[in-house]
Point group: C2
Chain length 221, copies 2
DNA sequence: GTCAATGGTTTTGTATACAAAAATACGCTT
DNA sequence: AAGCGTATTTTTGTATACAAAACCATTGAC
């Protein structure tokens, strides 16, 4: 709260929203927030613009800025799109990946494996992020990689809560192996399917997510 | 240029960029632009934020706002992603579309057909937008629909220039018929393939685009 | 001749002041 | 007492003023 660049303001407000201090639909008061962060309304309004662009708040002209947290349906929809974007990355990567990139992806998968053996879920979470990041890049489509990264970032809090489910880490790793093998074989369709299954929320995973979401909401509300 | 809401400002600047008055990499001078639009720097800077969110300008702290036009490669990549998003919409719509929505889509296709018969390319362009908009909604995934809309909007200027190619309008209409039929048959895979082909830039279409892009660039530079 | 330092100028970032619109409260009528 | 119209108060949107950083050009040192 001491620094006050445009970005840090955005992060600060984002934090307040995600932590549940501001509930869904609540109006963000410009003067109160400005006072709280020790800035004037001008930079605060610029931060609002950024948050609106990322979808976390809605800006209604002459009305104000309102918190817009995704509900369960919206979250499910976002994962559905994320699954398709990653599937596309996999499909393209299977055809376009260079040997050097493939080596990097293998290394990331190995790091995941190491984290799994250690039972270090924080590290697994981190290495998993690297794995996916490299996969996006391997698609050879820079724009796709950016978009995938953007959505990945937006889903971050929810993904984390999903990984806490018992046994999910081990299953996730098995799926990584499938994905990697399909890309190595140059089998785009199989890579795409594996990634769709890896990312999408389906079957019992849906129930798991619903349960953890309920808990998180209760804590926030 | 007489009205001056936040959105109209953004559109006005966007127009200046797309029309080529501001070349790629050029800095957008706050005071000059403010004077030109008859507003102060404050709303202008908010418009900059919006343009940065949509990727048309890059905001470098303490340096200013710079035009960032996609090059040919980036544009190709964007269309590749757009094709996949639309394919996904089609795949889902084939399963989820309601009779009422299907009727709306049919009506939009009919309007396109009418525009084609009249040879009214502006109207075709407009009705074509409606057709795609309805398709996004028919996916039953609100988030997907929003993302598709967003990218569609971003590609607007380039799509328009693509449609100017001789005979493209008639071919586009034929593809619409295929898409509609596949959705009506509930054949998700066929709808997806038809849409991928409809949107993606491939084969000679790539050369067409390259040519018109060259011309546009030359006019701008 | 090249490079670095320094002063002046431009330009961004932010605070504040003011105008217009929305929200709210109050009183009036029925 | 309920509903409507109006006055008051918030709150947003915008202009302007000012501070700080970046830019630029001139000058001086090596």
């Amino acid at each position: 709260m001491e620094r006050r660049t445009a970005d840090s303001l955005r992060d600060g407000i984002e934090q307040l929203i995600v932590s549940g201090e501001f509930g869904n639909g609540e109006r963000l008061d410009e003067v109160r927030l400005a006072a709280r962060f020790g800035v004037s309304r001008t930079p605060l309004r610029e931060a609002f613009q950024m948050l609106a662009a990322s979808g976390l708040v809605e800006l209604i002209p002459r009305r104000g800025a309102f918190v817009r947290l995704p509900d369960l349906v919206a979250m499910f929809e976002m994962f559905e799109v994320m699954a398709e974007l990653e599937a596309m990355c996999g499909r393209l990567a299977a055809r376009r990946v260079t040997p050097a990139m493939l080596a990097d992806i293998k290394a990331a998968a190995a790091a995941c494996e190491a984290a799994l053996e250690e039972g270090d879920s924080d590290r697994y979470y981190r290495e998993n992020g690297v794995f996916h990041h490299l996969l996006y890049a391997a698609s050879g489509n820079g724009f796709l990689a950016e978009e995938a990264e953007r959505l990945h970032r937006r889903l971050k809090p929810f993904r984390r809560m999903q990984l806490r489910v018992r046994g999910r880490m081990r299953q996730s790793m098995a799926e990584h192996r499938d994905i990697l093998q399909a890309i190595e074989d140059g089998d785009g369709a199989r890579a795409a399917d594996a990634l769709r299954g890896h990312v999408a929320i389906q079957g019992e995973r849906f129930n798991d997510l619903m349960a953890s979401y309920d808990i998180a909401q209760r804590r926030a509300g």
